[in-house]
């Protein structure tokens, strides 16, 4: 088990370093002074004072005048202090503040969508593995859903259920006329605005889990232990339960691998619904060419995915006795 965690920790540490380094390195590939260029690209300088402050800030932060390795270390130092820089678009709000403000929306969208789609997808997939009629409907629907781009399903839902049917609002995190408050009105507005983005994320992911689980369960039902139980007259219920338990393990690993895709999906979905989460921030940063905000958000997402991955690895150890028994690799 120590070996398992040792190896995983190295991977995560390395990944983290790679991600931060890419983040640090990429702006330096740009010809010229990135800060100046970015400020220029914002159009006519309406506020020279602000520009000067920003220039000063970044020149101090990145210290373009000190050696590269020093710049690199400074970058890490700032990062550890939670300093992601200052947004240009929302000057002078620190990027970290902007990110933290948007974070609850994204988490509120992602967590239920991921967990529910994983849970229900696995249930339905396992059911499809043994019921022909269900299989015949789950399989094609599942494949269509996984082939659907997130943003298009979001557009489709916004248009059909939002604009044509008029049931749900299609933009924002809550009503434009409301201020955040602890009230029924605000909560219901929040929920109404939440539903469609959630649904589109949920549906696409659901298809993938259902198909994966179906194939895994069919495979497990043909395994030796299932045959042995059947030979001893065990009821199909028990055999299916065992098959499900065995099949769920690769699905846990799959969840870790799919996180990045799901987060990507939430970026797209939030853009469609102008949902005030991290994804929309990415889009706004791109629109306003606020690369410091963009970098901050993306770095935050990357680290968040790594942390979530690590959590899933811990969960995996808890659910798979084989990793705990520490017997892996002995036979190698």
């Amino acid at each position: 088990m120590g070996r398992y965690f040792g190896r995983k920790s190295i991977v995560y540490a390395l990944t983290c370093i790679v991600a931060v380094t890419i983040n640090w390195l990429v702006p330096r590939f740009m010809p010229g002074d990135p800060v100046l260029q970015m400020l220029i690209s914002r159009g006519p300088d309406t506020n020279p004072e602000q520009t000067a402050v920003i220039m000063d800030y970044y020149n101090r932060l990145f210290g373009f005048d000190v050696p590269l390795w020093q710049q690199y270390l400074n970058y890490w130092g700032a990062l550890f202090k939670g300093d992601l820089g200052v947004s240009v678009w929302l000057f002078p709000t620190p990027v970290a503040d902007v990110v933290l403000r948007a974070l609850p929306y994204t988490l509120g969208l992602l967590l239920p969508a991921i967990l529910l789609s994983w849970f229900l997808g696995n249930k339905v997939g396992a059911m499809a593995a043994r019921r022909k009629w269900l299989d015949n409907s789950v399989l094609p629907v599942g494949y269509v859903l996984t082939a659907t781009p997130y943003m298009w399903l979001a557009i489709l839902l916004a248009w059909s259920l939002g604009i044509v049917a008029g049931i749900f609002p299609t933009a924002g995190g809550y009503g434009f006329d409301l201020q955040p408050a602890v009230s029924w009105e605000f909560a219901s507005s929040l929920a109404m605005h939440w539903f469609l983005p959630f649904l589109s994320l949920f549906l696409v992911a659901f298809g993938g889990w259902a198909i994966g689980m179906r194939n895994l369960v069919i495979y497990e039902l043909e395994s030796d232990y299932a045959n042995y139980l059947a030979a001893l007259g065990a009821p199909p219920r028990l055999i299916r339960r065992y098959a499900f338990r065995n099949a769920i393990l690769p699905q846990v690993t799959g969840l870790a691998l799919q996180l990045g895709v799901l987060v990507g999906g939430s970026i797209l979905t939030e853009v469609v619904f102008a949902y005030p989460g991290l994804g929309n921030l990415v889009f706004q940063a791109l629109l306003h060419r606020d690369f410091f905000l963009l970098q901050g958000v993306v770095l935050f997402i990357v680290i968040g995915v790594l942390v979530a991955n690590f959590v899933i690895d811990v969960v995996y150890v808890l659910v798979d006795p084989r990793t705990r028994a520490g017997m892996q690799g002995v036979s190698a």
């Binding site: 082939a147 943003m151 298009w152 604009i163 469609v272 970098q295």
Partner: protein, 294 residues
Amino acid sequence: MTDTRPLKPITADARRAEIFRLALGNPKVIAGLVILATLLALGLAAPLLSGHGPSDYVGPRAEPPSADFWFGTTLFGQDVFVQFANGIRSTYVVGLLAGGIGALVGMTVGFVAGYRGGVVDEILSMITNVVLVLPAFAVLIILAAYVGIDSVVHQSVFIGAFSWPWVARAVRAQTFSLRSREFVDLARLTGVRPLTIIRTEIGPNMGSYLLLVFIVLFGGSILTAASLDFLGLGPPGQMSLGLMMNQALQSSALVLGIWWWFLPPGIGIVLIVGALYVTNIGLDDVFNPKLRKM
């Protein structure tokens, strides 16, 4: 020790012929290939279909589908059908290129790591795992935003550069198990070089699997490219299905009810990717007789 031997003697020529016959007799493979071929033909014929480009203002604004403009026009009077056909074409290009690059990198890494083992494997697996847990789409956004994407080829290279890890993993595992097969030992005893062994002994045994891998990468690359295009990070001046959705959304096509603008690009992607997946399942049935009886 089982009673399966009487079933064995099917000649391999016959097997190959049978696989071909089964593939062509498999409704999933046929349906998938027909859809793919039709859309490909549409994409290839795009420049011939009309005299104008996808961004030219050629018609009345926001006109619903008609005989003149089969898919209607955009809010600015561009021909949606021409945009669609051009988008389909670049979709195929991205899928083939990015899928190809991802497959090439993944297979190379997987083959080498699986065959060599030891320290080489240790290092390559570490790299693979690092890229695997890195959320590719987020990194692609940063790269695309800063470095910029100036062509479909460029975009494909970026996508391919981040889509290979799972392929490397899978190919490595398969190579690992094939390497321990005795025919590989026998080839080594005949003095065949490692790279030749990978090419002539191990590779051919994974042929069908590699094809399936490529198909999945093809579909995945299309979805990633469309997502980047949708965020406005696609190659400038290049019409794509993702960009169509981007423009439709930015121009409030939803509120204005211009459904003919944003429905076709999504349908196009679902059709292509879905057809790829369907072909994939069909081929899987053909290659893997165990699933065939299901």
